[in-house]
Symmetry: C2
């Protein structure tokens, strides 16, 4: 089997690390239960393992094709998409009022990890549709919701996000696409958009494009941007004046059509009010950022599974403590075992960050009291850039490590290891490059609510340190000490950045995000270790699994958390020292 959903790890993360049960108290998820979770995850695993995973290589080899103004996805994609629609997977996390399953986003991202891990190119379609649905729920009129939500939530229609133009990438405010008012209240949209994921395809009946454009006389920059609903097929059944005019030739995700879209006076409808486009975009974007982080986890998990399978099978040399005659499987070589351990630990940490972010998002939306909701929102906002950037960095790192474990075979395309690296390499770039995430973290998030988001995080980490230090398990107190060192480093760096001028903040952004990811990931592995210890004492669950979760946290503490103090020097270097390097220009 090319991909196997890591159900034990996923359930442990949901239940023991991210405390998903706490969502029941909100009353927003009446159907949600541990049993239902098991059933949902099992069904999703079947789709991912049996339907989507086998198409992953097909998509890579065939690419998408553009002919006669129409995009064709690779063999099997439309049929797989039909099964995705049939299972109702697109609507999992949306309320039953809108035709969804009414389940938590935390469960949604767990299912999403399977979809992305089994087939990143395929998974991009549904991922973009999520964003369109959320923008409509948040900003659409009742009429717009009634017209578009039902079929988007079933997945019969898909959605896109049209931001980027040749001169407007990270700087969205530079975009030039125009919207001119039509007499009937609709708008005529004209312009070219690039890098439009699933911009055209043959899987859904209609494609609902959400397009950023400028209305006449709008202010410059981001303040003058509006969002429009621009369907491929108009409500009267006629074709809108838009089409894909090009497909990008990319390093990876060949099964995902990345389109250049041309809007030639296409009919669109304003959503969220004139010049309110950035706010709407951030609704889509924030959801997409977490989801891209989940892509990082999914592809890392798949790459790890491939490395583990190969290392267990491939025999080379004499391993120092393997039994039986040589050659031994390379997994017995300590260096390979270290590599696999690092892959496993970072995946578990990244998954924990993403699921915790989703639980926070659920609480922020459905929480009981205003203060609880506000705190959850702060946590969601704090974790979102970390989830996006750190998890996708892990995705690339693990996919590259998988190639390395394979040796020469990893470099041969037929093995499939190379595809995972090629696919993963987009994730640190899109939905805001990882540098943009880091700047968001040291800019908006650090000072948000007078630093409350960080203070609350510190307090939670402190609790876990206390639990570790006072544990009767011999491994947990040393773990608590590593976590304390890591937390102190994070606080020291954050305090320095908060006082620093903006240029120094920006100069330290990327290593600070790395430190934050490593620390928060380590914290959540420690939360898992404390839970595993409790399970051991209460005789709950598989004792071997619990022991491995403690060992995983220990390993991570020595291999990763130990880096924290040294990162402070890097973060606090200051912009001047960088300026002096010069580039001989």
């Amino acid at each position: 089997m090319s991909y196997r959903a890591p159900l034990d790890e996923m359930r442990f993360t949901l239940e023991e690390v991210a405390a998903v049960e706490g969502l029941k108290a909100t009353g927003a998820f009446p159907d949600f239960s541990a049993d239902l979770t098991v059933a949902i995850l099992d069904e999703a695993a079947k789709l991912a393992e049996n339907v989507l995973a086998p198409l992953n290589k097909v998509g890579d080899a065939e690419h998408c094709k553009l002919a006669d103004d129409k995009v064709t996805t690779p063999t099997g994609f439309p049929e797989a998409y039909a099964q995705f629609v049939e299972g109702g997977w697109q609507g999992l996390q949306f309320s039953t009022d809108n035709g969804g399953m009414g389940l938590p986003r935390a469960l949604g991202v767990t299912v999403l990890e399977m979809i992305q891990g089994s087939n990143l190119s395929f998974g991009l379609g549904p991922m973009l549709t999520y964003g369109a649905i959320e923008a409509l729920i948040e900003h659409g009129t009742d009429e717009q919701k009634a017209m578009y939500l039902p079929k988007l939530i079933t997945g019969e229609w898909s959605g896109t996000m049209n931001l980027t133009e040749p001169s407007a990438g990270s700087d969205v405010g530079a975009l030039r696409t125009k919207a001119e008012p039509n007499p009937d209240g609709s708008w005529a949209i004209s312009g070219q958009k690039i890098f439009i994921t699933w911009g055209d395809h043959d899987c859904a009946e209609n494609i609902i494009h959400l397009v950023l454009a400028r209305t006449p006389g709008s202010p410059d920059g981001t303040k003058g941007i509006s969002l429009f609903i621009v369907p491929k097929v108009l409500p009267d059944g006629s074709a809108n004046s838009l089409k894909a005019i090009g497909l990008e030739h990319k390093l990876g995700i060949h099964g995902s059509p990345t389109c250049t879209m041309e809007y030639a006076g296409a009919t669109g409808w304003l959503i969220g009010g004139e010049n309110a486009g950035m706010r709407c975009m951030f609704t889509m974007m924030n959801s997409a950022r977490l989801n891209v982080g989940v892509q990082g986890v999914g592809i890392a998990e798949r790459a790890y599974q491939q490395a583990l399978a190969y290392a267990s099978d491939r025999k080379q040399g004499r391993a120092i403590d393997a039994e039986g005659p040589a050659p031994h499987a390379i997994i017995h070589h300590p260096d390979i075992k270290r590599t696999l351990s690092l892959m496993k630990a970072k995946i578990a940490a990244a998954r924990a960050i993403c699921v915790s972010c989703a639980v926070a998002a659920d609480l922020a939306y459905h929480g009981d009291e205003d203060e609880e909701k506000a705190a959850a929102k702060r946590r969601e906002e704090l974790l979102t850039p970390i989830a996006k950037a750190w998890s996708t960095d892990v995705g690339v790192e693990v996919a590259s490590a998988n190639i390395q474990v394979h040796g020469g075979m990893g470099y041969i395309e037929e093995t499939g290891a190379a595809q995972h690296l090629r696919d993963a390499r987009i994730t640190p770039i899109y939905e805001g490059t990882n540098a943009i995430q880091a700047i968001d973290l040291v800019g908006r998030k650090l000072s948000m609510a007078d630093g409350a988001a960080f203070d609350e995080l510190y307090a939670d980490i402190d609790q876990t340190i206390e639990s570790c230090l006072t544990s009767s398990h011999p491994d947990l107190p040393p773990l608590g000490e590593r976590l304390r060192d890591s937390l102190e480093a994070l606080q020291e760096a954050a305090d320095w950045l908060a006082e620093a001028d903006m240029k120094d903040r920006l100069a330290g952004a990327t290593p600070f995000l790395t430190l934050a990811g490593e620390t928060v990931g380590g914290w959540l592995l420690c939360v898992g270790a404390v839970s595993a210890r409790r399970r051991q004492k209460e005789n709950v669950g598989d004792p071997a699994f619990a022991a491995q979760r403690i060992a995983l946290a220990n390993f991570y503490a020595e291999a990763v958390m130990t880096l924290a103090p040294s990162r402070v020097d890097d973060i606090t270097m200051g912009a001047d020292m960088i300026d002096e390097v010069g580039f001989g220009l």
Copy 2:
């Protein structure tokens, strides 16, 4: 221009960091002078920039082709190879007795960096020929030398290294190719070899394969391996019984033919004596390992240049302290500047390691006294695994960072950034994976000559620390302190490993190599800073360049050397902690 040889950096590294002038005292290089160095580097730069670099994309797009038992290289490769031969570049570092230029290997690797940086696929051909030449010089009979060396040294004939078989990769001892004696003293070689770089091609008149095989009754494992010279065209002009039967479909280096070779009773001649194949192989291999490290430097340099050019050109957003109206070139954003600085600093460090290793190799071969030669040999052997593994890790890291600097454009194949990552990704794998290098370092090299190689390194680093601490330049004493911390960490880790049992050593091998690379690289940047300071005081050379070299060392000290102490925890974790992680198998 797609690639520009970094002549200033190269000369500074040769002259001020690796002290190449010291080679004159050996008397082995009568023609070698600073003026000649300039002339040679200028000429090589023309070849690299004007001939090889423009073919880099061509090779990637066209791939090599196999038809009618013959391999065709991409358009322009044969003509470029002819120019390479005409310039006499293959013989640069070989003695004039053999028809070479009689120049130091240190100059050879500097030229090689240009060749690899401009076109890695092309550069692999000459790189393999170097190995064949060295094996012949070291182990061939006078007759063999007379027959093969002249045309290999001109490059009219090329060489290959045939080790790998499907079940014998890192474990060379598992190979099965057979050699049966012929009545005339030659041997009949039969077997299949995989991953044979430049195994067949249309650039040279003849291809001299060096093939590892087993003679009848030879011992098992590595002790029973012999090396054979197996030319494609036999001395009588007839075709030998060998051919390429397949070309690999790889992630990158598409312009380099990676062949499956079939030897069907091909005629070969024993070189170096029966069962002495491993010793001969290591002659080829050690040279190739340094050269692969140089590939890492070359491709990193090219990727850095592309990132720098793009960042200087691409305008996005308002940079915090840029002048003039927005949008500003992204190089003015502190995060981008940090990325470029890290790329530049690591390249300079890796280049310094490789060139220093080559100088040590020159001294080991040509040095005056036995003790000097022996010490130089130890230094060469110590630096070789670091040069190979650390530089290629840097190559991959920098190539990946180049994609990231490009944002979405980096993911589009037409940009060319993706190719550099795809090409670079092989370098940590071949000629002994980087894990094999790390194991070599903590195994053989750490205990070699009772630890003398490391002790000598420590002493040299100590001298540089002293120079920094006592400098009148305000930046140098803090630099000395960082270097001292880094050295202490290296010593602590090395001492622990030297005392540890073999399993723990192996478990800590990879992070130890990283620490060694970061520390040695940092040391050599400090050597450069001390030299730059001296130049400033003596008014020698460009003062801006000198200031930037000091700033580069400062930046590296804060961003990279600071990690050293924390790596000790990782290295000394011990194998048990890794064993406990378990993989749910």
